[in-house]
Symmetry: C2
Subunit: 318 residues, 2 copies
DNA sequence: CATCGATATGTTATCGCAAACACCATGCGT
DNA sequence: ACGCATGGTGTTTGCGATAACATATCGATG
């Protein structure tokens, strides 16, 4: 018990014994067993973070935000990957919850009924991130992708473009991309404009795919004067292609991506894009969990951030 | 006990009771407490993965390999980030080990004495990855960065380049980059060539930095006919700059990076680079842990992979 | 000097599960 | 008919820590 007290800095222990304990622990290479500790105290300093993927730059950035904030607390993030598959998400969630974490940060607000039930039943703070078009189980932080699509549509219309093409990923399960697309077409429709053509891809190097898709869509529809890409990588590929092909950008044809990958700076021309507030979303989500855990705050939070548009060199300003 | 048997598929249970248990568990929303389970069985299906960073594309790819393999087992990766700081690594490692994972995969073979002691004392399989220039605690998988530097130096010399510049990150603690640099200069020296100039950076968008550094180094040394970049991102930035400035590549000046980021395809010219076998390293490391856990194999493994050079369009072939 | 409070240390029960073993019923071979 | 393996279920114990409570020590205080 005294050892336990020393190692946790709890309760009164004389300086002498404290020293002795620390000394001996070090000498023995003693590593406390958190499993036993957690069982006894029913306190687990883990936060489950459930995201679809780790390989496309956007989630790592959210992670960075989460890590930044949690680092100042006792909490530690544990990541689970779903691969955009709802059943996998359910499995990962179950697995995570069975470790009784102190909180859950999960991407998106579309989940299976079972997942939602588990989250609700867990009794721990839950923050759904990166999409606020819907009703959260508990708290929610991020941008509205529908609105992001709308705002980009507005900017494009204001720029005077009318023959618009859309290029995206072939992911039925990427709800955020879908909502962006929906918001985009809705807003265009309000302006009396309809998408001229669209092109989807899956897999492969996004940069290469961007080139190929751009070539393909322009072959079909040479009149296009704007291309809206569902992410910056394919946008960058398209930009590369168009520059090489000698197009005048943004006069003859305009381009925009989505995400604000800071990799874009440094390209021959800077691609227009829209910031998804990823770092900030991660930070905020972690803050919410942290303040819930320490009891500072108890109510659910819903926070919609406003994505900023960057015109770069590929979208005519109004 | 019967419930426990049903949920773990262990031992004989009649079909009738099994059904009843499953049914009831679902109805109650029962989530087994892994903490208690782990304590009782002293089995934890977690593998600690300790890496310096998540934000530069290379570690996520290793993670992908690890995940791929572990997915076919009961094991689950848990990630810890060190930020290239040895003391942070020590802290993270301690934290992880206190959860008594089934194995550890850790980047690099340079660790504090305390870290090494902990790894040894833990009694679990340990795989040190991505660097094989040194002695591992237990197993080790990856490439020799010293050798990678040497091989690139050879290729450059064979290409006929003699006025060589080096551009890299200012990371005293990135041992792999350092070893690559050392191997590079050693091999050049053997060919009677010495680096003409070098340039280091830290922070910021790698693409932009690559442009700036390239401009700077060429302003100082206009005679340079080859630039070796310590990663592909700054290399791509440099490539961009040189193309815009109208250099003849790879005739007038050659370029090479390191890492084989598949993003490079799709650039106006494909940057020469060297594959670090990241995916394969991750897969192999996970396999080693898995086979150790299931007892298939008990001996330490040391495996050095051979990085493949890609000439692309920026390095003259011999 | 008895009492009290504070500091310092020890004892016991408990967390939720699985290992180990005990037990009973059934069916099979000899 | 008997022993024995097997399937199906229950009981007890222990994992390694912490919570809660108990005890010891000491000095100050009235």
């Amino acid at each position: 018990m005294t050892v336990s007290r020393v190692l946790r800095n709890r309760g009164d222990v004389s300086e002498a014994t404290r020293e002795r304990v620390l000394q001996t622990a070090k000498q023995l290479g003693y590593v406390p067993n958190k499993i036993a500790g957690a069982l006894a105290s029913s306190r687990v300093n883990l936060v489950a973070v459930i995201i679809p993927s780790m390989s496309n730059m956007v989630f790592p950035e959210v992670m960075t935000g989460i890590t930044q904030v949690l680092e100042e607390t006792q909490l530690q993030p544990v990541v689970g990957i779903t691969g955009y598959m709802p059943e996998k998400e359910e499995k990962v969630l179950f697995e995570m919850l069975s470790w009784r974490p102190s909180g859950v940060i999960i991407a998106g607000i579309e989940h299976t009924d079972a997942s939602r039930a588990m989250l609700r039943a867990s009794g721990i703070p839950v923050v759904e991130i990166m999409d606020t078009d819907g009703t959260p189980v508990d708290s929610m932080v991020g941008i509205s992708h529908r609105r992001a699509g709308q705002r980009m549509a507005e900017a494009i219309l204001k720029g005077g473009y009318r023959n618009i093409g859309f290029l995206g990923t072939q992911m039925a399960l990427d709800h955020r991309a879908r909502k962006r697309f929906e918001g985009f077409t809705e807003r265009l429709a309000k302006g009396g404009v309809e998408i001229l053509d669209k092109e989807f891809y899956s897999g492969g190097s996004a940069l290469v795919k961007g080139r190929e898709m751009t070539q393909a869509i322009l072959a079909r529809e040479p009149d296009l004067d704007f291309l809206y890409y569902s992410n910056d990588m394919i946008g960058a590929g398209g930009l590369m292609y168009l520059l090489e092909a000698g197009y005048d950008i943004p006069g003859q044809i305009g381009l925009a991506g989505f995400n604000g990958v800071n990799l874009l700076k440094g390209l021959p021309k800077e691609l227009a894009t829209m910031d998804a507030c990823r770092l900030e979303t991660g930070r905020r989500a972690a803050q919410i969990i942290a303040s819930r855990v320490e009891g500072t705050q108890t109510d659910p939070v819903s926070e919609t951030m406003e994505p900023r548009i960057t015109y770069g060199d590929t979208l005519r300003r109004p």
